[in-house]
Subunit: 270 residues, 2 copies
């Protein structure tokens, strides 16, 4: 099943726009619990509450080959009808981008990935060519440094809007989305205006402090959907004790329900 | 030994600005030769001819965990006095960037890495903090898509110059360099002018067709050094038969010597 349909169906089935970022950090995990074991427990506790999972590859690569094996085990454990977004933020020239696309889609088997657009079209094309997969281009990120380059003005427009326009241009197969941080609500509103139908992946609620009601209002489309609102730490480390999975379930339930409170009423018909 | 000193000493010892990109592509490698075996043969055939090696992680990730194991073996095989640049083009928010820095510097043990600057300072800081390591920010890349975003004008200047200025600002520990494609000589000349003392990593000679005399003239600093001129395919696949290592040596020798012909005469004193 393609990414878009998987996302739509899971969103409807779980009545959720919540994505849980699977970013295992040993410094915050309960002692004596391995990465794959930790992720399995988190997935088992939240799989009826999410629209997607999003492992960030950095957390696995930091543990070497063992970490990447745990990522493979995690992917295998996630129910196959829930979409998995590989948060890889890759970006390389055409020849090399093909290798990254193979690694992320064929080897790991992600349903969608995040990409850095700085190298332009030929760095994105090999991913677009996987028409059943999804790709999210970094547009306006959630971190303080986002201002350094993404806000520079080009002909009176911020640079990140140029990324949004290009994404629309390049979206010939309808499989492109954008990453827009929850911590900058005005920018989020503007991007939603420019791309009314595009899926937006929105990290930065929870620990990073994005304003949830505003994020839901500005980030969703006319139907109250098409936004993937990600949180990682606020769910994963809701408790660092042996009750971590239960605490994650409680945190995820609260967050899903808070998101739904602020969605447009049409969601009830989804 | 820190990256800068390793680079300076290897450049002098081998009288070379040539970097060989270790990008093993099964479609082009001799049949029946494994990745680690292929790389070992290439390294053995060229280690007295290069200033550095640069494995691009995409080619290993495309082969899954086996590929990454081959990367580890390759790194272990390269003589420890030759700097290894991990061409990873990573870029993520501060919290996650720390994990990538750990993966690339502590786990893989690269002496330097390439980074995508689009997420701004907090995505680069965890790498800068490894003061003995090197980091090369993507500035003006060698691919056709480079024009899509990198050339957009910001206050009358191309965007990539903003990246160069920020790199200078951020270079408090003297461990930042820039990636500038060989295929755009004017841009290369301009960046060298803006950053007279910064090491430039210059891919795109060989298969990508950069003009070698111009690249050497425009890319080196006043002393005729501080440029790392990378080629991958033109050396790795000089022959795809059983004589591939010998052919790689011949190609690397020719390229090193051609580069040296166009270096400023002061190189003889290095």
């Amino acid at each position: 099943m393609g990414f878009k349909r998987k996302l739509r169906e899971t969103t409807a089935r779980n009545n959720s726009l919540l994505c849980v970022g699977l970013d295992p950090d040993r410094a915050k995990m309960p002692a004596g619990v391995g990465i794959a074991q930790f992720n399995r427990a988190i997935v088992d506790a939240t799989s009826d509450l999410v629209c997607a999972y999003k492992p960030n590859l950095a957390f696995y690569e930091a543990e070497g080959l063992e970490g990447l094996r745990a990522l493979e085990e995690t992917i295998a454990h996630i129910p196959p009808d829930i979409p998995i977004i590989g948060d890889a933020k890759r970006g390389d020239i055409g020849n090399t981008a093909r290798m990254y696309a193979r690694a992320l889609f064929d080897v790991f088997g992600f349903d969608a990935v995040t990409l850095n657009p700085y190298l332009g079209l030929d760095s994105v094309e090999p991913f677009i060519a996987y028409t059943k997969k999804g790709l999210f281009l970094l547009c306006r990120t959630s971190n303080p440094g986002a201002r350094d380059f993404q806000d520079l003005e080009v002909d009176g427009q911020p640079f990140y809007e140029r990324v949004a326009f290009k994404a629309v241009d390049w979206n010939v197969h309808g499989n492109i989305g954008l990453v827009v941080g929850a911590t900058y609500v005005q920018e989020l509103a503007r991007i939603r205006q420019l791309c009314p139908d595009m899926p937006l992946l929105i990290p930065g609620v929870g620990s990073q402090g994005g304003d949830l009601p505003q994020v839901v209002k500005r980030g969703t489309d006319k139907s109250g959907a098409n936004a993937i609102i990600n949180t990682s730490r606020a769910v994963l480390y809701a408790s660092t004790g042996p009750d971590f999975a239960e605490a994650a379930r409680t945190a995820a339930t609260d967050l899903r329900d808070s998101i739904n409170q602020h969605r447009r009423p049409v969601r009830r018909n989804v």
